[in-house]
Symmetry: C2
Subunit: 338 residues, 2 copies
């Protein structure tokens, strides 16, 4: 039974389990701190394909198959796949999942897609609408740069606030298992737009959305940061993380020592040239579906609030003078079902 | 309680009600057979905005406000909005819904978006995860042509199999009401790709997906076309409708006299230059959220299977030689909850 808690939160009384999870990365990810936890590492960023877009589809295919295997299931055992990515018309997901013959529910949440998929998937499983659901997402540095910014061959100088799109993917299979992590609550965010127009500072644009969703969740559940081991944002990276912590502090929530960001975890900013950190759907997907899920399964982390962050603009909307609407979805991941 | 029925179908035991619905169209839609049922008709396809993309956002805003009003609710009374459109990164929805402060679940289902949103929304309401959900979608002839095909000023000749993207939108508010239409069952489709590569023949590409979802639903529910007043596809139009009927006939289902297609209903092909018919997210949205919902509410239609169809390619994937992956989602709309 799903129970509404407060205005924005759904409590999952029979918390679904993430029965299988897998992560994938390419060369730069293999040189970062998460490498040892990532299932599939391939230094060939083409993944054997002829275009970056086809490479991204291949990444989704591989990470999905790995997660299904790790869940000891077959594609026939999955009721729905919930997937999306950053590419126009989400072609990473559509071509990646095309041959699987699993009923497909297409999402668009930009870099918040993993959180959106985990949240929706958990609700579908908990309520009996599905027995098993998989959520998958990806990003690819080259397909994203080409689509959102400049041709790669242009070799544009990167701003210090800019983030490096992760070439990575993650998949999670949700079911009625008894293996942690469990998804105990979900809080979908509203679109928040504070007027930031700088495509090279997505962290600053997304921080208010993350703060809003987190604050609403704390108010709904009468909890605060002390009730959790970790408040994990998706891809705010350096600039956005500082801003988010400041916004929360202003509301009376001191996140120091409790907050981490997947964009700051996946790369080592001291040794890797990623400016403010990582970003992309694959950023939080590769971190949550590896190190985070594994740490919860092993009991090293008990309660994690994962706040997936997404920037919902397009190059066209920005060229037309629009600011960047952002969103953040929250899932409570736990080592115990209650 | 949601009950799985067969392999692909979810039966909604306490069928949610479409408590409010609204449709919007522009000039060509105002000259078609559905005009008298459409709430908002505006011959200015800019809808007072400076770009086609901003016009599309404005269309979503207007149709959503109309549906909320017709449901006697305010934005505060809506738990979630499920929205998406055809534009890159779904900017029609993101900018359209930006000011509403309703938790936003972003979808990408191409022209199947209304069916996807009705299906997911109905499940969320029925299971108690939400009390009230709104689903919204749109398409705009000019923003779609510009993005998918040619600059409008190019004045390209249109193939006889091509379809005319509807400048239209639709919104439906789902809740626990006692007003028809009710959503009694949902069947999400798998991605189906039979190798069609012709961007000017989307109906043919989508027909196999529609046939597959419909056949699976019939098998799951042990019903056939005789149990329904109408089998309504989203935007197969002339070529795709014929093909879908042939595919179903081959499986033993004779849909003659039972099948209609929103792409053939929204325009009059004898007097309007729309080639094979209408298409776009706004096509089925403008027909289902006007004439169809109204006819069910008035008892003129009792049981309708709405099969929303979508083509999941992008211009980039087609330029790279890929065929067109397609999808169809089915919802059973009824004048009675059981």
């Amino acid at each position: 039974m799903s129970t509404r808690q407060g205005k924005y939160t759904v409590k999952l009384d029979n918390a679904p389990s993430i029965v299988g999870f897998a992560a994938l990365g390419s060369k730069r990810e293999s040189e970062g701190p998460m490498a040892q936890y990532i299932d599939i590492l391939n230094a060939d960023s083409m993944f054997g394909q002829t275009t970056w877009e086809k490479a991204e589809s291949q990444m989704q295919r591989q990470v999905a198959e790995c997660a299904i295997n790790k869940a000891n299931l077959s594609t026939q055992g999955i009721d729905y796949v919930l997937a999306g990515d950053l590419l126009n018309q989400c072609i990473g997901s559509h071509y990646g999942m095309r041959e699987m013959d699993i009923p497909f529910i297409g999402l668009y949440g930009a870099c918040s897609t993993l959180a959106e998929g985990l949240g929706l998937g958990a609700v579908l499983v908990e309520t009996g609408a599905a027995r098993t659901v998989m959520t998958v997402t990806s990003s690819h540095f080259c397909s994203a740069e080409k689509q959102y910014r400049f041709p790669l061959a242009y070799g544009g100088v990167r701003a210090p606030t800019s983030q490096w799109t992760v070439t990575g993917a993650g998949a999670a299979v949700l079911g009625k298992g008894s293996m942690p992590p469990y998804v105990r609550a979900v809080s979908f965010g509203s679109i928040e737009d504070k007027g930031v127009k700088d495509l090279n500072n997505m962290g600053a644009a997304m921080a208010p959305a993350a703060a809003q969703t987190l604050q609403r969740y704390f108010e709904d559940t009468l909890t605060n940061q002390d009730n959790y081991d970790l408040i994990l944002t998706g891809d705010l990276s350096l600039v956005g993380s500082d801003l988010m912590q400041s916004l929360m502090m202003r509301e009376g929530y001191d996140l120091s020592g409790k907050h981490a960001d997947c964009g700051l975890m996946i790369y080592d900013r001291d040794t890797q040239p990623v400016e403010a950190g990582g970003s992309g759907c694959g950023c939080s997907a590769a971190v949550v579906c590896s190190y985070i899920a594994q740490s919860i399964r092993e009991g090293k982390l008990q309660n994690v609030l994962f706040v997936g962050t997404g920037a919902l603009m397009s190059p066209v909307s920005v060229q037309q003078g629009e600011s960047i609407p952002c969103i953040a979805h929250l899932v409570h991941l736990s080592a115990t079902p209650v």
